[in-house]
Structure formats: C-alpha cells, structure tokens
Point group: C2
Chain length 261, copies 2
C-alpha cells in the first residue's frame, strides 16, 4: 500500500533517517527545489548569476547567512537535515556524499533554492501530454549547449538543457503551459535541430539517460537546473554543498502557486 505523505511529513522522515531515496514522485502537487549552499563571500555573485540567468537558475528561495530554516518554503524546514542526500564540494571537486550536513554547517553559509522541472512535468502530465523520460522510467536527458549564460563575477558557463521529444502540436501546447511557470524554467529555449544550440549527438546526453525520439517528433529543449552546477564546477568555490541529483528539497508550496497566470 502506497502512503502519500505531506511535505512536512516527508521532510520529518528524511530528517529521522526513515527515507533517503529520490524525491521524484513524492508529495505530488508540491514544489521541489534544487539546492546550492555557498559561503557568504560567494553568495552575492551567485545571486547575481541567478538573476542574470533566470531560465536555467529560477530562484524560489534564499536564506540569510547562517540561517538554516526557510520558513517561506516550509513549516519547520531545516535545510541541514531535510534533504535525502547532499554533496560536499571542495574547490569544485566532489568530496563526499552525506545524509545530513549538521556537522558541516557554518554561520556564513547562504542557501539558494532553485525551481526544478518536476513542477512543469506535473502540469504537462495533467494536460494529457506524454513525458518520454517518465514513460521510459529513466532520468531526463540533459545536454551541454553553446548558449552562453551571462557571467556574474566568478560564475560563468554555457547553459545545460533538458530534452523531451514531442509531436509539434504537443510542443506548442507545452510551450503554452510552461510559459505559466517562469520560476520552474518556463518555456522551452529551443526545439528542432539540436546542432543549432551546439548539441552534437542527441543520442548521447551529457547527463541523465537517452530517450527514444519517435518519427515525427521534435526534440524540445528546456533550460536546466544543472546549469548552476556547471557554473560552480568552473568557479571552484573553496566550499559548496548541493543536493544529490534527484534528491530535492520538498517544499510546502503548491505547484499552482508558481503559475503567473
């Protein structure tokens, strides 16, 4: 029997070691977020990078330095314990993966929460569209592109995109639906010929898994939350914490709250 937990219940289970899996499909209807935690002296530039590049880096929450609660995103939320798995980076290199970051916490750390594609995938499914990576039960394919982000201080890099193949009429409908949700990447940034955005081989994604593109379908590309991770790799801050891929922060915000219209 499958039990549906509220976001607060799921975060409590994660906090007390009862759940450490992916959050995809958990707490349907609620916003999940990508998490980046940086020292204060890197925070301003990262904030600026997000503001310059809202499609790959849509900011839905940010803490004060040292603050580990994010009351706007969730009741009783503690960013140090409420994500299933975290990644610790030193100078841009992955150092370890951990179940909580209480021992790493510092009073200069600033938490950023960025919207993720789960919200718009839910809206597309609700409209009857097929999401190929969900149908095939794999991770969405993601690609490095030649589309430059606008640099901010030490943060720069090209956009990473996710791809979902669709028939043209479905792609047009997806553009309409996703345009309502700018804080979870918004409308696609490209569709059709992958080479026009520097994607050499659609069958070999740089991240995630390849999916089938059926006859008559176009590849449709969305700005992707992996973009800031690539910018972090290049900027190499001495210390940084992120969520592990697929293990997102589950918030109390209903997805519908993110719709601008």
């Amino acid at each position: 029997m499958s039990v549906v937990f509220t976001p607060q219940q799921l975060r409590a289970r994660i906090r007390y070691g009862e759940y450490d899996g992916n959050t995809s499909g958990q707490c349907p209807g609620y916003v999940q977020g990508n998490v980046v935690i940086l020292p204060g002296d890197w925070a301003m530039e990262f904030l600026q990078f997000c503001q310059f590049n809202p499609r790959p880096c849509p900011l839905i929450g940010m803490s004060q330095p040292g603050e580990y609660c994010l009351p706007d995103l969730g009741d009783d939320l503690d960013i140090r314990t409420d994500i299933p798995r975290y990644r610790i980076f030193h100078h841009g290199e992955l150092a370890s993966e951990v179940r909580d970051i209480a021992n790493y916490w510092r009073d200069d750390l600033v938490t950023f929460v960025l919207g993720c594609s789960f919200s718009f995938e839910e809206a597309l499914l609700a409209d009857g569209l097929e999401i190929r990576n969900l149908s095939e039960g794999v991770n969405v394919p993601m690609y490095r592109t030649s589309i430059p982000c606008q640099s901010a201080g030490r943060f720069s890099g090209n956009m990473v995109v996710s791809m979902r193949p669709m028939l043209a009429a479905d792609a047009i409908r997806a553009i309409q639906i996703c345009s309502r949700f700018p804080s979870v990447h918004g409308a696609p940034v490209h569709l059709g010929d992958p080479s026009l955005i520097g994607v050499k081989d659609i069958a070999r994604p740089n991240f995630g898994d390849a999916v089938a593109i059926l006859p008559g379908e176009l590849p449709v590309f969305w700005a992707c939350g992996v973009t800031p991770q690539v910018a972090l790799e290049q900027a190499k801050p001495p210390f940084c914490i992120t969520h592990s891929p697929g293990c997102m922060l589950v918030t109390d915000l209903p997805n519908s709250k993110l719709a601008v219209i």
Copy 2:
C-alpha cells in the same frame, strides 16, 4: 505625406468611393476581420462550423438576419458599403467582384466577422520579431492541409494554414504572444516538417506567395481564415458574399481588446 485615418474615417472613405485598396497596414492598432455573409437558412450551420473550429474560424462578430449595422464592431458601420471590394458567389462559384453590395442586400442575410492574422502579426512585430511575408512585401503563403475540420451540417473540409518561417527561439516567443489572441487564430497549429500536416511542397503554396526559409529556420503554421472559404466552396450555398482577399472590414476594436491575458 501619409495620413493615418481612424477606422471610422477609413470606412467613410471606402463608403464614398475614395478608397478601394487592400486594408493591410491601414488603421494600425485596430482589428480587421474576414467577412462571410450567408442567407438565414445557412447561417446556423455556418455558426456551428465556426464554433466547432475556433482556430481557423474565430468569430468576433455576427449580425441578426437582415441587420447591416454591427454596432459592437464599429460606430456607424454599414456592412453593405464599408469594405473596399466584395465577392459574390452563386452555388460556390465566384460570380462577380463589386464595390458595394447595397443592390444584393436581402433581409435574410446574416453577417459573420472572423478575426484575421493582421492582429497577431502586429503583436509579433511589436515584440521585435520579423514577419517574412511583410519583409518581402508579399502575401503570406497559405497551404491546404490534411488536418480535418469538424463538420457542421453542410460545412466541412480540411484546415488551410498560413506559414511564417522563424528561428526556434522566435517561434517559441511567437507561440507565447499568439496564445494571448485566440480570437485571431491563436497559437500556431504546427511547426517543423510540413509533410506531417499534408503539405507536399513548401515552395508552392496553394494561396498567397512563397517566401524564403533561411538556414536554421522552421516553418511555423497558423490556422488561416481561408479555411471557411474552402468550406464554402465545398458546401456551395446558393448565395454568399465575402470580402475580397486582403480587403478586410476595419473595426473600431483595438487589437489589445482581443488579448485574453
């Protein structure tokens, strides 16, 4: 020196024989419409055809039988005289083209006014997008497709589409902009491979003129107001009047009034 007339001024000039040209570019900012005038015993089925197929046949006005004023669409508007050129059809065949229809008027005639692409082209231009047919100074290319309309009584047929080539990012923006204007055909119905909607040769449109498709551009297809004309050709009502192509009814409605959001 170019003089800009108000819609009411332009209609008066047309009525008094001072203007009989195309209305493209006249009265910028105001809605122009396709016009179909049918005997009362054909009107209900045509109304139903429009309601079943709102993308090619977006109804923005309709008269009572015999009524030649359409006060909702324009002050002092007289549908018998205020269009530069009319076409008279007998049993689906073009019989004549005339400057006014006062002599043809009957007290059972019902007037339908349907939104036209001029409104959304203006919105696209205002956003900085290029409209190829305007840049090239030709009529937009239009194609018969394999997309069936939903039949209503004696009216049936496949959709006719107009085509504007665009880079993918511009096509995505155009979808967003046009989605605000469902009563002037709304979002595109297809983009990419023309053969998927039954268009055999993109270089040879069925109506209008061919335009260049540049490297990297996708053909983007909108439902077109020529669709009801094709349905009329097939239905062959004994008597019917339409505007002549390009010679639209210029209304007092600002284009922005048609935006749903």
